[in-house]
Subunit: 412 residues, 2 copies
């Protein structure tokens, strides 16, 4: 079963809002074995909507959002009626629902709400329990068209409670299964080389996609076929094969982040960690604490942006800073030691570097970042040579050091 | 000038990533007077890409992202060559750039990187300083095609530094001027009421948009007309009018963030600040230190996630925590005092709250957040009652407290 998504509204085209509706619909359809072939975003003019309908008509189902509100620029219904060659007719039942909805809330009804209840004659109404604009279901020349409001809450309700249940028994649905394998510590091309045979031997009904970003690469396996259970079993086997091929790079699966992976290990062990951050400026602490429940394994952080604080709170020796500089192996080692003590945690990681764009020197160019991780027994250090881009350096370093901690933990 | 955006990649169709690239490109084009007519997202198959190119060809410019990586599923270039009726040829200069890039970083070059440098013969290379896949510019039957990697950082760099400058002199562009006025501390409707007359009196060629988000409201004035200099002069006058109408809410203009506004004041005065953060977990420090040069006015932070650290480093009294709890006016006041001392800064701000989604109680529900700002002479506190959404609470609190500090500074 092939689907197309048609989103209507200028606010998406000019980037005033990000089209997260389509992503959500895409997830839902995909999980239900409906292949999304295209997402088309168009403005709210008659010509654009007609063009969009024309471009979408070879799909089995077209999911449309937007242009159903009570205002002048919401013209989807009118254009749909024109496209289907039918009249707009007043839908009394929908109107009575709006009247009741407004009475209950003591809101004032406006003439434009009556307007909302004129629907194309061939529409089957999909009752909208979250707002005033009814959803609509059409069948026209072998294609299903669903028209929904663009308000995310209303759209989600209609897809979940009205559209998907109705599609459930459609025999055109193809079973589809996905698995995401999350890697860190190397690039797309190194992985591609290491799993070249694996990739070349994948059968035609299984696709592998590389999704890189911020020092990580996600691998996504997608299988389509006749039987969902078979596909799941097959992908399970493939995931195990990948674990054998690139064990050193895999840190998690599906939606797990590197900071969740670290948290999971520490939580199991009842241990805590903390950070001592110079150039990452609290970003590692933030990445950790944005996860609900992180207080179970995160003690806190000293963001030692100035040398004064490195000495004052973390106890880095003045002599160390003088001899080796703030961006040095010796300094990050002492920062770990100081953090273990002052934060009273089992593990600490430390970062000091030149995030850029200024502050570089010939010996220590922008992008030079020293990292360290350790506990009371052992401290490991690693120097990174990154880019000129400040935010990118901060993000990559945060991923990198959390992974360093993860590996250190796994060896304890 | 009419544009279409073509995003290539299954990950968008199945909703694994939200297509924020298109929104960003839409904003940039719109700001430059280029009308976006359609955004089309398609999968990475030959058939889909050919179809997308066919659907986009009536635009003046087609901006494409995705499918340029070194792996097998990245087939954009091959399909473009087919569509334009040209061969793929090896681009030595791009390859040498990759070789140098990798040598500098001591990364290993793989055969697939060579593959990345085979480009359609009619491509003009747009040098990509942020990654290995070169951008490409084509002109074909009266339409400009730009092909870029889907990695946001690389795409943004190519649009900003390569594509827009090249379009700047195109005579099809309509002169357009924007001004953004940044406000904080109140909502959209309060501002709308206060500037109702101003808004009603704007001429037809000037539009005002409200862009709310994360406790801030940006006001964007957009003027289109025949002469750019005239438009700029007119908007300058309008901005001054707005300053007179809502002075208490305006903190900056254009891209200035609240943390830059704070930094500017402190830098001028040669003073420093620091933070003591519990529930924001380092996010305020991060927001501060993501700005280049922030070491001139930011000393550091103590992320005191545990009560132990609140006492141990910040010197919060155990009795205070016992009597009033960690989320209290008394605790954040003591956190400010402790931070001033231990971070040795002129000003400090402190936060302690229940970010959610768990951890609330009847007296202190999720979203209860105490904030404080002060110097050695005076400490001011303020309680916020926010939402159930953890990340939203962290973001709003960070904006709120930085604005509290800004106002405090202006009164010194």
């Amino acid at each position: 079963m092939k689907a197309k998504i048609l989103t209507i509204g200028d606010e998406i085209l000019i980037g005033q809002i990000v089209d997260s509706n389509s992503a959500w619909i895409g997830q839902q359809l995909n999980m239900n074995g409906i292949r999304i072939e295209e997402i088309i975003s168009i403005g709210d003019t008659r010509a654009a909507i007609l063009r969009g309908l024309e471009a979408a008509k070879d799909a089995d189902i077209v999911l449309m959002t937007g242009g159903l509100g009570p205002t002048k620029d919401d013209i989807t219904k009118k254009v749909l009626a024109e496209y289907f060659g039918v009249e707009l007719v007043f839908h009394e039942h929908s109107y009575q629902r709006i009247v009741k909805y407004f009475e209950m809330r003591n809101f004032q009804l406006s003439p434009s709400h009556k307007q909302q209840c004129y629907l194309p004659a061939n529409a089957e109404v999909l009752q909208n329990d979250r707002g005033t604009a009814p959803g609509m279901w059409f069948e026209h020349e072998g294609t299903i068209y669903v028209s929904m409001p663009g308000v995310p809450m209303e759209m989600k309700h209609l897809v979940t409670d009205r559209v998907l249940p109705r599609l459930q028994d459609d025999e055109r649905l193809t079973p589809i299964v996905h698995r995401t394998i999350r890697t860190i510590g190397t690039g797309e091309s190194v992985i591609a080389d290491q799993i070249a045979d694996f990739e070349n031997n994948l059968p035609d009904h299984v696709k592998l996609a590389y999704l890189p970003g911020r020092g990580q690469v996600r691998l996504r396996l997608t299988a389509t076929g006749a039987d969902k259970a078979d596909l799941m079993a097959f992908l399970d086997k493939k995931v195990i094969e990948l674990q054998g091929l690139i064990p050193e790079y895999i840190y998690g699966y599906e939606k797990e982040t590197i900071s969740e992976a670290v948290g999971k290990i520490l939580k199991q062990r009842g241990q805590m960690f903390g950070t001592a951050e110079s150039c990452t400026g609290g970003f590692i602490a933030h990445r950790t604490t944005e996860i609900p429940g992180s207080s179970a394994y995160f003690g806190g952080s000293v963001v030692a942006y100035s040398n004064d604080i490195k000495m004052r709170i973390l106890g880095v020796e003045e002599a160390t800073l003088k001899a080796h500089g703030a961006v040095s192996e010796q300094t990050v080692s002492e920062m770990v030691k100081g953090a273990l003590e002052v934060l009273n945690v089992d593990y600490a990681l430390a970062v000091s570097g030149i995030a850029g764009p200024g502050g570089g020197s010939p010996e220590k160019p922008v992008g030079t970042i020293w990292t360290a991780v350790g506990n009371k027994k052992e401290i490991r250090t690693k120097k990174l040579m990154l880019t000129n881009n400040r935010m990118r350096n901060i993000q990559i370093t945060s991923n990198y050091t959390l992974n360093l901690l993860r590996k250190f933990l796994l060896e304890q």
